[in-house]
């Protein structure tokens, strides 16, 4: 930690970090989304932000960041891909994915915390894939099935179209998260790798030299 003289736990900084990640996911919504034929769920870069929120901030703050994002959207800010916002989102076929955002960020963060610090790439990818793809798809598919009035099987099939893109995003998110944790250590409070004889050159605790 570079900020030893600061108060050890800074609740105000939690708030601003959460806000900033809600802002990052909003910024990713500016990238034009591609709507594929079907029930009207777009391919969007925002899932990358969801994974990042969990992988960088951990479970609780990652969850809060996405919850904040969702509340801002529902309050009417046009932050979803394509400039959508407002309560109308709850009536759209994407509602399940939308509700899944905080849950997915939590899952990614929870796994990253289990895997401990320093952040390592392969476990990181595992976390973003499990949390940011599979956990997200469960509410997402249910939402599509309900809103588009089609069966769960058909809805699940429609989600397959997202899989290649989302797997790529998961890898990119983990790569970015690794860079961020290296440049800004101390974000995840997970336990340090115990074995101090670990041969990994990345085991130096402080800023990379």
């Amino acid at each position: 930690m570079t900020d030893a003289p600061l108060a050890p736990r800074n609740r105000t900084r939690d708030l601003t970090q959460i806000a900033v990640f809600a802002g990052i996911v909003a910024a990713l919504g500016v990238v034009p989304a591609i709507t594929i034929p079907g029930p009207g769920v777009p391919i969007t870069l925002q899932t990358l932000g969801v994974m990042l929120a969990g992988a960088v901030l951990g479970s609780k703050r990652g969850f809060s960041a996405m919850l904040l994002f969702n509340v801002l959207v529902l309050a009417g800010l046009p932050l979803l891909a394509g400039g959508r916002g407002g309560l109308a989102v709850l009536a759209s076929p994407t509602v399940g994915y939308f509700i899944g955002f905080p849950i997915a960020a939590f899952a990614v963060g929870w796994l990253v915390e289990r895997f401990g610090t320093p952040f390592r790439l392969l476990p990181g990818i595992l976390a973003t894939v499990v949390g940011g793809v599979f956990v997200l798809y469960v509410p997402g598919i249910i939402g599509v099935a309900l809103m588009a009035k089609i069966g769960v099987g058909a809805a699940a099939l429609s989600a397959l179209a997202f899989l290649p893109g989302d797997l790529a995003k998961a890898v990119i998110a983990a790569l970015i998260a690794r860079g961020v944790h290296k440049a800004y250590p101390g974000l995840i409070s997970g336990r340090r790798h115990r074995r101090k004889a670990a041969p990994s050159p990345a085991s130096a605790p402080a800023v990379d030299a």
């Binding site: 959460i18 990052i24 777009p42």
Partner: protein, 204 residues
């Protein structure tokens, strides 16, 4: 630099009836409208809903340009939904569903345009007061919401300057060279904002 005409510069000052309505009432009306819209499917009902929302714009003395701006970003979606509904049900249902979504978009836009963010946040906090008993701190939530609203243009600006800085150095963005410093800078920004908050006595 961020596009400064982004729809986030939401509040349009005014003294109309709509402006003066309590924010809490407007929010509750919006929630009710959202629920009602789920039930609407007929073109007639949707037409009435759209007309009602437009009447609200007239009462607020806001030109139709503002109304259009609320719907514009969504048009491609609306077309998608329209086509899907037409294909899976029929034309009348497509008109009804899309019309009801447009009505709701207009209503949400109207509330945003006539309500100061701080009033909106106060209203949300007021609505959350019952949760105080289960350990929710409404003031902290208010602060969190305000910070979220602030963070959106802030990050957009950071992203734009980062893009320009790379451009100025003659290199294209690679994920490592763009995203990592951007997120780190966003975190530094969060540090600076939390310092500023604490300096203004807004910590716990």
């Amino acid at each position: 630099m961020a596009d400064r005409s982004s729809p986030l510069a939401v509040y349009v000052p005014g003294a109309s009836v709509v402006h003066r309505l309590p924010a809490g009432a407007k929010l509750l009306a919006l929630v009710a409208a959202g629920a009602a819209v789920l039930a609407i499917a007929s073109p007639l009902a949707a037409g009435i809903a759209v007309a009602t929302a437009l009447l609200g714009f007239a009462l607020a003395r806001l030109s139709l340009r503002y109304a259009w701006r609320g719907v514009r970003p969504t048009w491609i979606f609306l077309i998608g939904i329209f086509a899907f509904q037409w294909w899976s049900a029929d034309l009348s249902r497509a008109v009804g569903v899309v019309g009801s979504i447009v009505a709701l978009l207009l209503a949400a836009t109207l509330v945003s345009l006539t309500t100061r963010t701080s009033d909106m946040i106060d209203a949300i906090v007021w609505l959350l007061r019952p949760l105080r008993r289960v350990g929710v701190d409404p003031d902290r939530i208010a602060l969190q919401l305000a910070l979220g609203v602030r963070a959106v243009p802030l990050i957009a600006e950071l992203a734009e300057t980062a893009r320009q800085a790379q451009y100025a150095r003659g290199r294209r963005a690679s994920p490592r060279a763009f995203a990592v410093p951007l997120v780190v800078r966003a975190l530094r920004r969060a540090d600076a904002m939390s310092d500023a908050l604490r300096a203004r006595g807004l910590d716990d």
